[in-house]
Amino acid sequence: MNQNTVVDGSEKSLLNFLGNLSGVDQTGANARAAMLGTRSIKTSSKAKAIDLAISMVDLTTLEGADTPEKVRALCSKAVRPDPSDPTVPSAGAICVYNDMVGIARNHLDSIGGSHIPVAAVATAFPAGRASMEVKLQDTTDALAAGAGEIDMVIDRGAFLSGRYMKVFSEIQQIRALCAHNAHLKVILETGELTTYDNVRKASFLAMLAGADFIKTSTGKISPAATPPVVLVMLEAVRDFHTMTGVRIGVKPAGGIRNTKDAIKQLVLVNETAGPEWLTPTLFRIGASALLNDLLMQRMKLRDGFYPSPTYVTID
């Protein structure tokens, strides 16, 4: 891959590269994200944005209380988000814990959702506090059960204490396991990285190690996918593309609950990385409650009045 032309895989070249990364202007990033958040998207543009956002949703359930039935219900919803309206596109993926992958895959295949990939959170999600053997086994299990995407967490403790090579090699090993069979999303957990400089650094670290996607958060920590953090990550993928010609995807997750938030994210994508990223193969939104709000907004545009939350399923 072209990534290897940027660093040669040695610790020295990695540290050298990350050390020379330009810093992020925090005030500037906040201001630009806030400014882009004021864009007003209306009528036909809004209708398109809603459908695009629906096709980008990684419909997620990551609860200790998850049951096979809940996962199946979610899969059905991903295939046909609004049963009363076949023009609604299906969701981008289903995102579940490791042990639910097989259940989700089988159910999707049985209801005509074989085009929808199942993403598994792996590597001792959400904390990532386990031995490398456990993390590899976790990933192997998910792949064996039919996961098409692996959402791995990085070791934030190692990253924050400067052991970049440890994080780098962990991502590389998971990358090698996924090979060409599964997309690899690397979760940075930006809420724990404290500064935008760290977010930028971790984004590059993940991309250099072979991530297909960089993802903001696990959804278990707040703040999660705030607009400035997503802006910084989008700038990182844009810069990486300039450097290497490779387009890496971005997945904000956590805290995006309504249509307005989702459209703000799309504006950020368009204005930062560019319109090439406005596709489910390069931009996803990890969410659960968001889909219902998107559907309700869609009904409002279609019918001309506000629907009740009882018109969409409770998940």
Binding site: F305, Y306, Y311
Partner: protein, 282 residues
């Protein structure tokens, strides 16, 4: 020392316990009957209404689950706070409605009395409107009135404060949550009322107050599928009343208009009867 500059108040909406400006950024001007400028309250948009409905819906479970006694206590607490602001209300009403402050204070007092009258009904409703029913089977069968959910109201143009109290109190005392559209010409007492609510232990979102244009917002009140009931006592235009009834038919919205100000019927109209069959001898 230079002459003092008075700090003018920004009149905002009351949604979910917070005081936001209108999402649309709009305001409108209100004038005294003699034509002098008074203030620039927010001109609420349909999105403000939608936000208010979301806040009211979220507040409903907690408010309706509170004991009737507790709801009565909170309403009484609001009356205590109203009492402390009586002079401010009187000044606002006097300037807006062009009456003298003595008469305005009279209106404030009757509004507070009315509020307390409704507060007293909270723990009496189920014994008066509920019943035990004779059935020909091994069951205890009883009927209790329950709050409907989110019930909105269009408050009358005047009397501004008394009209507002008459709109809100009977809706919320039973456990409904509400969105009320205040008097368009005289909205200031409604906003001051919101300040009272913000300091009276009332859970956020139980009462949401919008200021704005009746003819613009009323159709959205009528068609919104998550509003269960609507008090249109404040609508004067018969064409609008008709339109509201047609638009509200789609989700079987209970739409009522009342003439009496103090009547338990105002409370019961926005409640539903739940009948319980409890088996005996199992």
């Amino acid at each position: 020392m230079s002459e003092r500059i008075e700090v003018k108040k920004t009149y905002k909406l009351f949604i979910g316990g917070a005081f936001p400006r209108s999402e649309s950024g709009r305001t409108y001007e209100i004038f005294a009957p003699d034509g002098s400028f008074i203030a620039n309250p927010s001109l609420a948009s349909r999105k403000d209404l939608r936000d208010a409905v979301v806040a009211a819906r979220a507040a409903h479970a907690g408010w309706t689950a509170a004991t009737a006694y507790n709801r009565g206590q909170i309403l009484y607490r609001i009356a205590e706070m109203l009492e402390g602001r009586a002079d401010q209300f009187a000044r606002e009403i006097a300037s807006l409605e062009g009456i003298n402050e003595q008469d305005a204070l009279q209106e404030v007092h009757s509004a507070i009395d009315q509020w307390v009258w409704y507060a007293g009904w909270s723990d009496k409703l189920s014994s008066i409107a509920g019943s035990t029913n004779q059935v020909s089977g091994p069951f205890y069968n009883f009927t209790i009135p329950e709050a409907m959910g989110v019930v909105a109201a269009i408050a009358p143009e005047s009397p501004s404060l008394l009209g507002l109290v008459n709109a809100i109190a009977p809706i919320i005392v039973s456990g409904n949550t509400t969105i009320v559209l205040a008097s368009t010409r005289s909205p200031l007492p409604a906003i001051t009322f919101a300040e009272v609510l913000a300091t009276s232990d009332l859970p956020h979102g139980v009462i949401n107050i919008l200021t704005g244009n009746k003819s613009e917002l009323t159709p959205w009140f009528a068609s919104h599928m998550d509003i269960n009931g609507l008090d249109i006592s404040g609508l004067e235009d018969s064409q609008m009343v008709n339109d509201v009834k047609i638009a509200g038919a789609d989700n079987l919205k209970r739409i009522h208009s009342f003439h009496e100000s103090a009547s338990p019927q105002r409370i019961l109209s926005f409640m539903e009867a739940k009948t319980i069959w409890h088996p005996i001898g199992i």
